[in-house]
């Protein structure tokens, strides 16, 4: 009986680990969708602007990196959650 209980406990622990891994993976995947679309929009419009006004390319590029940095922040938070769930 005790052996059986111990075994169930171990299985439950393994299940918990597995669920953690699944949750971490899903969490990061979901967190990456929005920033992915956002960065696409930012870069696309920056290229539009650079093609229209090549003389402004420097300023546009700087602003583009800023926009990317802000959109990327959300994906980075997702990445941190992934690390915390998997390795902490």
């Amino acid at each position: 009986m005790i052996e059986l209980l111990a075994q169930t406990g171990q299985e439950a622990g393994e299940l918990l680990d597995g669920l953690k891994a699944v949750g971490a993976g899903l969490g990061y995947g979901l967190a990456a969708i929005g920033p992915g679309v956002g960065i696409g929009l930012v870069v696309g419009h920056a290229i539009d602007a650079m093609a229209r006004q090549p003389e402004m390319a420097g300023t546009v590029r700087t602003t583009m990196f800023l926009g990317i940095a802000f959109a990327e922040a959300l994906a980075l938070i997702g990445f941190v959650v992934f690390i915390l769930l998997n390795f902490a």
Binding site: D17, T62, L66, A69, L76, I77, F79, N86, F87
Partner: protein, 256 residues
Amino acid sequence: MTVITGALDFPPVSHLLEWPDFLLKGSLLGINKVVLLTIMGAVLVVVFFWAAGRRQAVVPSGAQNLGEMAIEFVERDIVVNVMGPEAKHWTPFIASIFFFILALNLLGLVPVLQMPVNARMALPMYLALQTWLLMILVGFKHQGFKFIPNTLFPPGVPKALMPLLAFIELLSVFILRPFTLMVRLFANLMAGHMLLTTFYVLSSALFVKSVLVVALPLPVFMAIFVTAFELLVALLQAYIFSILTAVYISESMHGH
């Protein structure tokens, strides 16, 4: 916790990122590979710019040429472009950050060394805290005690929205900014380090006397490709970190 990938023996993450001390073992000042690489990076930057500025010829050549180009790039593309021409005296600081991070990232790709220091949380955290502190100090210096209300209450916003906006601004400016600055550098470098390890492990696992060897070119090619990609990431992350530092400091100087 070991990560199981089929029959492969993928090392646990702690094996990739944690190094034992080899000097002053166990004390707070213990020196391991990461500390050594940090010092190496700093020394490399100092030696390079010392060599570049040792004999200042009117017509630059060799190291001086490269050094002048590098400093001019930082001054023109980062400092003047973001902070304006009146903030040129920030060039030495921004350039130090840029070249320090760049040197460390590049050392992470040199064979045998192969450990990006920024893949450990300590250095990105220090650099981000430094930027955060400077941002606040510069804000108080240029705007006085109006720095806080200027930052929290941007002009031209309906009164009803003010409390909500102040809360969001407080969170994004004083907490999220240094946090994302830190995590961006750390996450990019660590992800690259693990990606490289994955393909190296795969390559060495397929280096066998069996039919499986036909798949060997794939991970080898990917390892080379990812190394080239990491070169780009090394440059880009140094650039983004210094440009964001410049933006945050210049926002503190001018307000909204």
